[in-house]
């Protein structure tokens, strides 16, 4: 088990800022911090499940039907997560809406299945899933935090009476930030800044 498999998901192969997969849910749900966190964790759970199973059964799947079979595995985990959220965390389920079933087409998951889980052992696949999934969750939560802070003047880390909501006093929020244009502009700027530091770090080597 290599630790690098875990850390690469945060900077070098950051799913949002570098590989640019999973953009749709990222921009859509990042209106409240807790939504970003929720979506990230839901995606990580699916990723963990699919990477594990696919890594276990990779030798039993005929090459011709491997993509459809990956899809069935992923879709099954998505359905499980969907129904569990619906049952145990209804407000989150409602807020994330169609982006929960859309996790199945989140290219991150199919991408990892194809590029990694189908070629590596279970241990590494689990680390890969955790690393990429948590990298995704972290980036998504930061984006949601920025948008919520600027757009509503609050930070919401509350779900079902657990957690808290923090509000800035006397700040007139920029409502545009929680609308689509705010999402695009925020991620554009974040990506540019991220690239800048990444290029600087690579230039130094």
């Amino acid at each position: 088990m290599k630790i690098a498999e875990f850390t690469k998901g945060f900077i070098k192969e950051n799913p949002i800022f570098v590989i640019m997969l999973g953009l749709c849910p990222t921009l859509a749900v990042s209106t409240k911090t807790v939504y970003g966190l929720g979506m990230g964790l839901a995606t990580t759970v699916v990723l963990l499940g699919s990477n594990t199973i696919i890594s276990l059964i990779k030798n039993f799947i005929p090459d011709k039907i491997r993509i459809p079979s990956y899809i069935v595995v992923i879709a099954t985990f998505v359905t499980i997560v969907d129904y569990m959220l619906h049952a145990y965390v209804p407000p989150l389920h409602k807020a994330l809406g169609i982006f929960i079933p859309l996790i199945v087409v989140n290219c991150i998951i199919l991408g990892r299945a194809e590029a990694f889980a189908s070629k590596n052992n279970v241990g590494d696949s689990i680390l890969d899933a955790l690393g990429i999934g948590l990298g995704f969750t972290l980036s998504l939560t930061i984006l949601a935090l920025i948008r919520e802070l600027l757009g509503s003047g609050t930070i919401t880390l509350k779900m079902l009476d657990y957690g808290w909501v923090w509000k800035i006093k006397g700040f007139k929020p920029l409502s545009i930030m929680i609308l689509p244009p705010g999402a695009f502009i925020t991620i554009g700027i974040l990506m540019g800044i991220f690239n800048h530091f990444k290029m600087k770090a690579e230039g130094k080597k």
């Binding site: 640019m20 749709c24 998505v78 859309l102 290219c107 990506m191 690239n195």
Partner: protein
């Protein structure tokens, strides 16, 4: 009466609630394929075709299989498999009848399967309880909107090729900023429909 409702659904899906700029569906190909106008148009047309066809087929599958047999929990699995199969068919069709387009679209053709716009549109058709005609119109409108967004983006990005954009912002970051401003402009369409 029916016709105006259909028209409203199409206008709504393509301009007022543009799939890309308002609903955030179809972003990966939007950023990936919008560098050149030709591939943008080709991709737009392919996606519109798949969207319209998928809306029809999935409506039928949903009604006569899932609901009839009371297996709604299989919705996600079924829908995505149907879409994957449909894209495969479309791919073979294009390869046979227009090899040039097939070459141009390359890897992006099979990627239509994972285009959230297709699955997204069919899921919205279900949640909005559209009938067959409305579902088809909605899917078509979504495709039209997707194509419009792609064409606008690619014409802008082609012009920006010669701009002195800062190194760290070249490519995707600027594309997102442009998308943000276009999305801002499209907000003005929100008020138009109330009739």
């Amino acid at each position: 009466m029916e016709l105006s409702r259909i028209f409203i659904i199409i206008i709504s899906a393509s301009l007022i609630n543009n799939f890309v700029l308002s609903r955030f569906l179809g972003l990966c190909p939007f950023i990936g394929v919008s560098k050149k106008m030709d591939s943008a148009i080709g991709m737009g047309m392919a996606v519109t075709f798949v969207l319209t066809l998928a809306s029809i087929i999935i409506y039928l599958v949903n009604k006569y299989v899932l609901l009839a047999l009371h297996v709604e929990f299989l919705r996600t699995v079924t829908f995505i498999l149907v879409i994957a199969a449909l894209v495969q068919l479309v791919e073979m069709f294009i390869q046979k009848f227009s090899p040039i387009l097939y070459e141009a679209l390359g890897i992006y053709l099979p990627l239509i399967t994972t285009n959230c716009a297709v699955l997204g549109a069919t899921l919205i058709n279900v949640s909005e309880k559209y009938n067959l005609l409305e579902s088809t119109a909605h899917g078509f409108g979504a495709g039209v909107g997707f194509t419009i967004a792609l064409i606008l983006m690619s014409s802008i990005r082609e012009k920006l090729e010669n701009s002195k954009i800062p190194e760290s912002f070249k490519g995707a970051p600027t594309a997102f900023l442009a998308a943000g401003i276009i999305s801002l402009i499209f907000l003005c369409f929100k008020g138009i429909i109330a009739e």
